[in-house]
């Protein structure tokens, strides 16, 4: 007795397999961008502010499938990674159009341009932002993969 096997939907499976890589690339890319935007927002919120130059300099740069957070401020590195505690002359420029004396005066510390102050504290802003958001990355990637599968089925 002959056995007849009929397979249906091969065309749809083929079409699904053809669309899936493109959709995955697109959806994972979208989630990656969203993740980096969240980090940028979080870093801006955490960045110490006085003139606002540091927060303003936290930018998201994108090339094809690659996103970079760039901190384009001369003191960004030192706020993030720290520095050796030291005395600084009040007349020293802050490289944002002001002098250390202006900053000290705004904090109610010293109003004179003479003398120096001791600086020791730094405030990291990128690493805490990354720490806060990295836990959400697997969920975001999962959501992206699920959406890609849904889109590839259409």
């Amino acid at each position: 007795m002959p056995i007849r096997i009929q397979v249906r939907g091969v065309e749809q499976v083929y079409s699904f397999m053809r669309r899936l890589p493109k959709q995955l690339n697109e959806q994972i890319g979208k989630k990656g961008e969203q993740f980096m935007k969240n980090i940028q927002k979080s870093a801006k919120l955490r960045a110490p502010r006085w003139t606002g130059q540091l927060a303003q300099s936290i930018k998201l740069e994108s090339t094809k499938n690659e996103w970079k957070i760039v901190v384009d401020s001369p003191y960004g590195y030192f706020q993030e990674f720290g520095f050796r505690p030291h005395f600084i002359q009040l007349g020293t420029p802050t490289r944002s159009g002001f002098a250390v004396a202006d900053w000290a005066a705004s904090k109610g510390m010293r109003s004179s341009w003479q003398g120096s102050i001791f600086v020791s504290k730094h405030t990291p802003f990128i690493a805490p932002a990354l720490e806060m958001n990295i836990t959400k990355l697997p969920i975001m990637l999962q959501q992206g993969a699920n959406q890609a599968i849904i889109n590839a089925r259409k």
Binding site: E33, Q34, N38, K41, S42, R49, G52, P128, N133, K136
Partner: protein, 157 residues
Amino acid sequence: MTALTKATVSQAVFGNIYDRISTNVTSVTLSDSTTSTIQTYTASFPDKEMDTKSNYPICVINTPSLSWENFSLTKKQVVGTFEVDIYTTKAESADLFSDAIINSIETYRFTLGNTDKMVWVNLESTAYDSVMRGKIKVHMKSCTFSFRFKFTKSAGT
């Protein structure tokens, strides 16, 4: 409210959402019966020092991100997202404001689709963050929405 055209997608989306949020989401009542009223509606979080409680809540309506895809032989489709962030000094008010924002956009979907031509408006995700700024703790809740807008391609393209 402004209907979207292919020449004015970004500004029309921003304007429509800004008008909607600033009209409909103004204050919330917390569980201790106090009222929290939004102090500033803006397009980006202020870069200057914001370390006093009276500056908050701040509502940030971000400019939309856009991309194109083919819709048919004669039409293209803009696939975009816009984000609305709320910065408060109480976690409860951040939740209440984000609910109010989501509800405001949801109840407005019909008008957005029919009058403003922004279709398929959906909540994509929400995100939460909190940070100590000076002596206050700032809570941030971010709501990301997606939308689509179809337009006719220019002749010969």
